[in-house]
């Protein structure tokens, strides 16, 4: 009797799990289920080239590639319920799908705001979101971006590149991307945005968005009001784990998993990507990571663990994420926020690297701007926990 693995969620984590099962030698049935009716596509370009309209969406798995790999694609079908005891899920249309192994890869959605649904107020998470926002931005500004995290900062940069003239970035914290960047790097980031004509209102939050006949008015905590034609709310994401409520899985801001990314007390059930909160061996606590590379690496781990249960691996990754804003290619590895103090290394031209040591003066994180080779060296050194002075000398020699 052939085994069946059902993967719920057809974004990068789900697609790479399905592909990885085949690479790992899995010879059972693979069913990949996605709630959107379009072929699986990649999300990072949605705030950059796809939003700008300079590139089409990147397909992750074409129908023919799926057929060739023996992956059954069920698109436009959301999962509604998990029945652990019976080993099956139920789709929104009532159809049951049985599994031997289940991979939960339902991702995350934009954190809801009180202002959702008002005309001209956007979130950016899906291709349809990007299409709607592009259409609105082509009518010009003013654009107010609420939240200066990865999505907000990238939308502001892309809008400027699209020729939107009045762009304002608002965040209650004093600098952009404050969770990921240390204050001195974040300050450079703020300057970069201002140099490209973005107004910044940091240190004050949004208390309301009013709809008027022909415009929106964004009211700030400091009492000021900003007129807007388009508003983008980028205030984080929440995991799509609601459909698992009552299933018996342990849910706490994500599906709680062991170091092998198997849901705790649920043999044969795994989670990958933004919806997974797994026990990270190196950090010795549960973490949920919303980065593309983590989803890819976690997918590889889970595919291996399903295909080769006798040789299970733990998912012990070093975080890596990038962002492209204006002419800056920003790459981050390991721990880069957390109030760590960094050491600045100038690179060729206007590039630079900032290295973050832990308490033992070993490398725990790095940020590079326009210097990919320094980032590669840093990623290796973080994994090896090399001494800061040694890494600094090695990266300095790359100049």
């Amino acid at each position: 009797m052939k085994q069946t693995t059902v993967v719920v969620g057809a974004s990068i984590g789900g697609v790479r799990t399905a592909q990885g099962l085949r690479s790992a030698g899995y010879d059972g049935e693979i069913v990949l289920i996605g709630d959107e009716a379009v072929p699986p596509y990649d999300k990072p370009p949605l705030s950059k080239a796809v939003l700008a309209g300079t590139a089409p969406a990147t397909e992750l798995l074409t129908e023919s590639a799926a057929a060739q790999a023996g992956i059954t694609l069920l698109l436009g079908r959301a999962a509604r319920q998990l029945d652990l005891a019976a080993g099956r899920i139920v789709l929104a249309d009532g159809e049951p799908v049985s599994y031997d192994s289940l991979v939960i890869a339902t991702g995350a959605r934009a954190r809801p705001s009180p202002w959702a649904g008002a005309p001209g107020v956007h979130v950016l998470r899906t291709l349809a979101d990007a299409d709607r926002l592009r259409a609105d931005l082509r009518g010009g500004g003013p654009l107010i971006v609420v939240g200066a995290g990865f999505i907000g900062a990238e939308v502001a940069a892309t809008a400027r590149a699209m020729g939107v003239t009045e762009v304002t970035l608002v965040d209650p914290v004093p600098v952009p991307m404050s969770r990921a960047l240390s204050p001195e790097v974040a300050q450079r980031m703020a300057t970069l945005h201002r140099d490209h004509g973005v107004r910044t209102r940091f240190g004050t939050g949004v208390v309301g968005i009013d709809e008027h006949a022909d415009e929106l008015v964004v009211r700030l905590a400091d009492g000021s009001a900003l007129p807007a034609r388009v508003v983008v709310v980028g205030i984080g994401a929440v995991p799509n784990d609601d459909w698992l409520a009552g299933s018996g899985l342990v849910i706490d801001d994500g599906v709680i998993c062991d170091p092998h990314c198997q849901a705790v007390r649920a043999a044969g059930v795994y989670a990958v990507g933004d919806v997974a909160r797994w026990h990270h061996p190196r950090l010795d606590r549960t973490v949920r990571v919303e980065h593309w590379t983590n989803a890819v690496e976690q997918a590889r781990c889970v595919a291996h663990n399903i295909a080769r249960p006798a040789e299970r691996r733990a998912h012990d990754s070093v975080e890596y994420v990038w962002s492209d804003q204006y002419d800056w290619k920003i790459q981050l590895a390991g721990r880069t926020g957390d109030g760590l103090a960094g050491v600045l290394l100038p690179g060729p031209g206007d590039s630079f690297a900032v290295l973050y040591p832990d308490g033992d003066q070993r490398l725990t994180g790095a940020v590079t701007v326009n210097w990919p080779r320094a980032l590669v060296a840093a990623r290796r050194a973080i994994t090896a926990r090399d001494p800061l002075d040694q890494v600094g000398a090695a990266i300095g020699a790359l100049r």
Binding site: Q19, R300, W322, K329, P372, V376
Partner: protein
């Protein structure tokens, strides 16, 4: 008798697949280098360098995974 076992018998290393890189697409994200640093590296310009293009069956899964970790799909592993 498979090709692979014939190889063991003769000691020949059979090339099973070829790696290709689209240098125009590459943005220097370097996930490939982390995944298989005996096949991929970055040059001074931050663009991928293929250290070799031919890989054998034993390393195919790892190199394919490394290629699939490219955020801009600049890498492919194809049958030789």
């Amino acid at each position: 008798m498979t090709a692979a076992s014939e190889n063991v018998a003769t000691g020949e290393r059979k090339i099973m697949a070829v790696v290709k890189a689209d240098l125009e697409k590459c943005q220097g994200y370097a996930n490939c280098v982390v995944g298989a640093d005996d096949v991929f590296d970055l040059g001074d310009d931050g663009v991928v360098v293929l250290l070799r293009t031919e890989i054998d069956e034993a390393e195919r899964a790892q190199v394919t995974d490394a290629a699939r970790s490219c955020p801009v799909s600049a890498l492919t592993v194809e049958d030789a």
